[in-house]
Symmetry: D3
């Protein structure tokens, strides 16, 4: 079990329940995943993290699916097991097909390869790439 | 200068020139950036890397702009200076606006934060997130 | 089981036993955790690693608890499962409360977020931050 | 210059100025460093990031100096040039001496070494380290 | 099970079978490990990845054992659980002894430590190390 | 300049000079690179780091060149600018040719790519890869 354990809805304080309710309403789901139940031991972090996630992942200049796939791309690059599992599910729910997943992973793999080639060969930034 | 230096078009062998030509034709541009000129000392790696990038970044289940932004998201997460500069330019050329860039970076930042919270709290993967 | 397996106290050579004894005496405990039992196949690495850990983690300009929490902060940032588990235990033994753990994790998460924002936005170092 | 450039106080909108004012008041300083001036192109990210930093770095179960040093430890572990420079300055301002810095860095180095030894040797987590 | 599941030899299309056959022939083995069976859902990525691995890992200026050990060194540094397990097996098959493994891990640990010390102390690159 | 500045041979205490002398004698060179001059502000870390590097990098089951190339492979994977520059120089001095460097970098790139594919696809470790 997580370091501080999980706080289920039934055990939660009204403050935590209100956040759980908002998570479920925003995501149109009827359950809370472990990440939030682990953070609930620190209500300040729970609230701040949720509010940030809610604001950042809402559609804006980028649509929700693109944002979910970017989140998954970063999580896969960082090799965070929990995050890969949860954001694969989230991206699928937002519309990611198997073909999109496969292309996403190919980009993540390629970027990780070329990042090391660029750094390992000590390539200087081209003048044209520098911001004015 | 890069570890092995750069190979400009004029100095390049016909084998390398053919790859440079394909890069410029595919990208509809008239110059070669330093990354490729550094790899050109190893024509096998130059060819394989270019062919992989060309295949992976072509539109498919994901459009070209989404792929470029994912590449940038991974590069920013990995903190590769050269790659951030070059793929910011590439993503802009593909249509990324300042607003899209800002939202992309917010997602990258948030994913990096929550990746560590999930791992640091030792959160177990929910049964529902496990693939059948 | 670990790549080379574990070497228990009973099976250990006198050289390895002496190190195990020093670990237990220094930490005021009566058991050896898996990390050391895995390294024991390479007595030179076992000794060097233990002596470095012993010297570095001893109270100095920073107290032992602060050092243990820093060790945990880095391990959480690196997402090393074994290290998070073992150093959470070590930090708690040194006095880390749940509230301290939660604040530590919030700092780790925030630092990982802002590290990517700074790199992703290609922010130059302020003149005032440069060392003279 | 940063990807989107910097927004100085004089050029800033009232919304951004109010955040700049809060940063300076909270930190008891009379200038804004580049990180915030780069984020200011996205006022939502500027506000959210500043409010999170302000809340997380305030003294609580951990004092302000310990938090600043943890921030620096993570930034050094992540090798973020901008963040190392800015948080070295911030930690010094909060009271970090050269001796404390040196011990901090020794812990960061050691943690990064042992993280890889634990993972590379495929060490299983001890039963005693698992949370109940 | 992996995100998209595994494709066994019996279920595979002729295209995928041909790649599986080449993997087994090249590696002189009679089975396919999970990595390839997971990628097989995306035949383009399966083929490209295998062809790259086959070309890169073939003996050249560096012998096959040295390459396998480098692959393991990077995987251990990146803390990729699957990759550490599979490339430990591959390196052993190529001739890595326990003593070589232990020295390899010591180098990986030390490099990760000194990488952070160099960055954390903000050490400038010596003029003599700069390429002409 | 580095965070705490550099300590040149002329300014060094006898304790530090003795370590500098050992570095130069071991490496058969007549100068000290910036890394050591930055660490010299903390003689305990300077000594411990040097003694560890000296012991780890000495020929054993692996020869000196292979170790230097592994050090470079990890540094390139970690994208540590200082370490890439200094260990490229060290590996060349130990005999690394341009062709060996190019193959090394190809392995580093490929390992970084496949590490993310394995993690991103959530590939389980094969039974045969598990240590008994």
């Amino acid at each position: 079990m997580a370091t501080l354990g999980f706080i289920d809805y039934e055990q939660a304080t009204p403050e935590v329940r209100a956040i759980y309710d908002d998570i479920m309403a925003t995501r149109q789901t009827d359950w809370i995943n472990n990440f939030w139940k682990a953070l609930a031991h620190d209500p300040a972090t729970l609230r701040r993290t949720w509010q940030s996630v809610k604001a950042i992942m809402a559609p804006g200049a980028l649509d929700a699916l693109t944002k979910e796939m970017m989140y998954l791309a970063v999580s896969a690059s960082n090799q965070c097991g929990y995050c890969i599992a949860s954001h694969t599910a989230a991206a699928r729910k937002a519309g990611m097909t198997d073909a999109m997943f496969a292309e996403l992973m190919a980009v993540v793999g390629m970027a990780n390869e070329s990042n090391r080639l660029a750094s390992g060969y000590q390539v200087e930034i081209d003048e044209r790439f520098k911001t004015p």
